[in-house]
Subunit: 253 residues, 2 copies
């Protein structure tokens, strides 16, 4: 297997491979099956889809392959990496209707957290996850696996400077929300339903940088009895408070 090819990622397991075949077959390069495996319905489906898209398949021993000891269930696909969206393209192709919502990650480097946040953003119907070129987790196969395929369902925008993007968004009448442990307002004290907003989440060690906190229109905290939440859980709590408020407003109309 060409695991010396730095430009390819790997997808492990039946459901993740089916998900990739269904949503983004063009990204798939080859599909490898475990030697002598007996084909169940999902493996048969993978083989059929591969044939229909003209994707090369091969049988080999997958067990010594994965360094990360990820369970492969008899099938691994090699895929070209998820493409980051350019910020200008993202802004130009925003839907005309409705308020926009994005999550900005300020140096979140753990792949489990990054993957879970992508999944939460897609579940909550946010428009994008924005990350910086520097010191962010790359979209590896672990990130893709943890996201359960959500990397194909939400735009992931990479920018050179988060600070410059925040300045730009503010000029365009977006509102900036940042989390801060000692903020006065709770995250549920603000109204998420009547604005375009960007929620900035910081790294677990350092939180949101001072520069970005100073630019924020709202600083909010999550009340805690012990230390702090994991960053992906903290993101889910705030993102879903926005979803809750929006759903309730919809139901009142």
């Amino acid at each position: 297997m060409e695991n010396n090819n730095q430009n390819l990622n790997f997808i492990y397991g039946k459901n993740p491979v089916i998900e990739a075949l269904s949503t983004n077959p063009k990204r798939i390069n080859k599909i490898f099956f475990q030697d002598k495996i007996s084909f169940d319905n999902r493996l048969k489906k993978i083989m059929e889809l591969a044939k229909s898209y003209g994707i090369l398949t091969k049988f080999c021993n997958l067990n010594n392959f994965s360094e990360e000891k990820i369970s492969h269930q008899g099938v691994i696909a090699t895929i070209s990496p998820v493409e980051y969206i350019d910020f200008d393209d993202f802004m130009q192709n925003l839907p005309k209707e409705g308020f926009k919502k994005v999550i900005i990650l300020d140096e979140v480097s753990d792949p489990h957290n990054f993957g879970a946040i992508i999944r939460t953003g897609a579940c909550a119907g946010f428009d994008a996850i924005i990350v910086s070129n520097h010191r962010s987790a790359p979209i590896t196969s672990t990130v893709e696996k943890v996201s359960m395929g959500a990397v194909n369902h939400i735009k992931i925008v990479k920018v050179n400077s988060i600070s410059a993007i925040v300045d730009y968004l503010k000029k365009e009448d977006w509102w900036i929300i940042a989390t801060e442990v000692l903020a006065k307002d709770n995250y549920f004290d603000i109204d998420y339903t009547d604005m375009n907003f960007a929620l900035i989440m910081g790294s677990e060690g350092k939180g949101v940088s001072k520069t970005l906190l100073n630019k924020a229109d709202f600083r909010v905290r999550i009340p805690v009895n012990f230390e702090s939440l994991n960053v992906s859980n903290a993101t889910a709590v705030i993102v879903y408070e926005a979803v809750r408020q929006i759903e309730i407003k919809k139901s009142q109309k």
Copy 2:
């Protein structure tokens, strides 16, 4: 190092070891430092605390030790495992005042999710996490590390049969909430402020078992645009909706 001792867990890294020394020094067996490491303030503090509690310390090469490739930052502690609380003890020692809240995990087996849920429960001030003897993730050093020491700040109760415990709680006038993808009510449609409640979260693959769903007083869903949330994020979303409602009620008094 005695990594053949199946009854010991390991804590990796400066802050986790300091946390364990501060909250539960009796659990610590020995502390190992990386050979020839230069002591910064946190390592000095660890050495001082170890001496004051009479804990054995030793220098050795830690780099080949951890199979899990967890960053150790020059220090590893061996500790006796977190003690599960007996359900009867838990019920007998509940605080007299206020409503009680617990999370019940129905076969959550991923250690990252288990650790993150323990952390969320501690942050939110819940009274316990209840898990089943069977098919649950054990409290390994990964769980403890992901929980950021929260395993020492919330009771973790192990029971033989979740189904029997749910029956018992219902008789004691607790209310049972379970998540179900196709439930009619959203998780924010119910009032968490005027009852003792147990929130049942299911495994990611299978969800909450049918038996437990049938016993639930409330079945709730989290609205999603794509598949479903990661189980630790889903737990955080519902747990913090309860926290939000309780905080708002408090502020109105």
